[in-house]
């Protein structure tokens, strides 16, 4: 079990918390404390809206250990509306065929079961097609 390794990423996994650069205002995910755009210190927390669109996607049939029971599944690069790309699974697709440009929103789902018998469940963000009211 690797509890601390996942616990310390709770803010990212559950809240999509990144950073905003106080110098050039670029939004950053995941947080890295140094702005990739201007190279200056960037430690100001920023909560992303969780809204974005599909930048690219594919379906995985040959999955790694911990994911093989849920294969096939779809992973995507999602372009968040604030700018950054994020890697995540698409979920709740139903009969919807994903396509580039499709609007999506963040939800919290089970990502995988940790390797050993006691089976810690790891939760985090996935993205689903935007649900209309």
């Amino acid at each position: 079990m690797e509890i601390p390794r996942h616990w310390r990423l709770n803010r990212q996994r559950y809240g999509l918390i990144g950073e905003v650069c106080p110098h050039c205002e670029v939004k950053i995910f995941p947080p890295r404390d140094i702005c990739p755009a201007c190279g200056q210190e960037a430690k100001t927390s920023f909560a992303f809206s969780g809204r974005g669109e599909v930048f690219s996607f594919t379906k995985i049939y040959e999955a790694p250990t911990g994911f093989d029971e849920t294969a096939p599944y779809t992973v995507a690069l999602v372009k968040l509306e604030e700018g950054p790309l994020v890697t995540a699974q698409l979920t709740d697709l139903g009969e919807t065929r994903p396509e580039i440009g499709m609007p999506v929103e963040m939800v919290t789902r089970k990502l995988r079961q940790d390797g050993d018998e006691r089976g810690m469940l790891i939760y985090g963000y996935k993205f689903r097609p935007v649900v209309q009211a």
Binding site: T58, K59, Y61, E62, T65, L85, Q89
Partner: protein, 388 residues
């Protein structure tokens, strides 16, 4: 400041494939012995091992000591160099730096990977450790899926037909037929590619180089230290360059451009003092067909979005303007992980020495080789030159 030429004096390799009866160490030792013999018996003072997954797939780290010992070289300097899929190229660079510095007279570089002891989901999990653990593989991303995400976007942005990347596999398999060490030695036809099922849409099985076992070794020295009766045409390392990019694909402002591949090629070409049109052959890193397309663009041989056309139009064929994957590339030779960059150097030396058999590029003088870790998260580029 390098005052002399760094020569690739010896080359040695095992065939690439499913070596059930060989271990990580036995493969490496075969390549080491062959390379030392090929060099005319030069005695190495340092060993640089390129390997990426021995810790997981063979449950074996500390390869420097192990392979120096089993290679009959107990006592010499020995360590492992890891840079993902570019580990072999990175180990070559360490050997180059050591010999160029003057601190080491003869360096041995060995790339080795033993894949086939692990199969299925555990192998996928091992390969996924080469991506970002916290923000990629935890979401179930695999190496193949990472390439598929790139390919999907590339085809979309550039309006490439669904079989637009086929030319890379066709070229590789055609060339692999002439390489006795290649895993696949048979040309394939376009319709076979077109009929193949997608394994990670839009990539099909012919877009993905097979992971396989293999070891390859090089002996490097300075020109004045070559044996007097050295039996081969002399090939030098004219340039060596490494560049890096973000590990995670998502963290790039422009994912469908290989920035590190571009930087390392430009630097190498400048160091070698040549123009890219003088390059006689290019051993690129076709672990995935999309990588080959993006590499040709990054290296300046095609405009953005048009690299795939060089495969379609025969530009990269043995008879084309820039022959690529001349002995099968990763796709047909097989992709032996951390050994791949060393195999590429051996392919280049074979071409420049005039020892490439039916795949020989007539009169080849300059060879460009590049291996990548991930989607060009690391790019290692070398230029080799036949001296006259």
């Amino acid at each position: 400041m390098i005052m002399t030429d760094i020569i690739v004096a010896g080359i040695g390799q095992t065939s690439v494939g499913e070596h059930w009866d060989e271990s990580l160490r036995s493969l490496a030792v075969q390549a080491i012995q062959a390379a030392i013999k090929n060099s005319g018996g030069l005695q190495p003072q340092a060993l640089y091992v390129g390997n990426m997954l021995g810790a997981i797939l063979s449950r074996q780290t500390h390869l420097g000591a192990l392979l120096a010992d089993y290679g009959g070289l107990t006592g010499i300097e020995a360590e492992t160099v890891e840079a993902g899929g570019a580990s072999g190229g990175a180990a070559l660079r360490q050997g180059y730096l050591a010999v160029a510095s003057g601190l080491v007279d003869v360096a041995l570089v060995v790339g080795v990977e033993k894949f086939t002891d692990v199969i299925g989901p555990d192998l996928e999990a091992a390969l996924a450790t080469l991506t970002d653990a916290d923000f990629e593989s935890v979401h179930g991303l695999t190496l193949t899926a990472q390439a598929a995400l790139l390919a999907g976007r590339y085809l979309h942005e550039n309006h490439v037909p669904t079989d637009g990347l086929a030319g890379f596999a066709l070229t590789a398999h055609s060339n692999g037929a002439g390489n006795k060490n290649a895993m696949f030695r048979k040309a394939i036809a376009l319709d076979l590619y077109q009929k193949a099922e997608p394994i990670c849409d839009p990539l099909n099985i012919f877009d993905v180089a097979p992971n396989a076992d293999g070891a390859a070794a090089l002996v490097l020295t300075r020109r004045e230290l070559l044996p007097k009766d050295f039996p081969h045409p002399v090939v030098r390392l004219a340039a060596s360059s490494i560049a890096s990019d973000t590990l995670a694909l998502a963290e790039r402002s422009d994912p469908v451009w290989f920035t590190a591949a571009q930087a390392s090629v430009e630097h190498a070409i400048q160091k070698a003092g040549i123009h890219r049109e003088q390059v006689d052959l290019f051993e690129y890193y076709d672990a995935f067909s999309i990588f080959a397309a993006l590499t040709l663009e990054a290296a300046g041989y095609a405009k953005r979005g048009e690299g795939w056309k060089l495969a379609r139009d025969g530009f990269i064929a043995l008879t084309g303007q820039l022959p690529c994957a001349t002995l099968g590339g990763l796709k047909a030779r097989g992709n032996p992980g951390g050994a791949t960059g060393v195999y590429q150097a051996i392919d280049a030396v074979a071409q420049l020495r005039g020892q490439a058999g039916v795949n020989q590029i007539t009169g080849a003088r300059y060879a460009l080789i590049q291996c990548l870790g991930g989607p060009a998260s690391i790019a290692v580029t070398h230029i080799l030159e036949r001296l006259t």
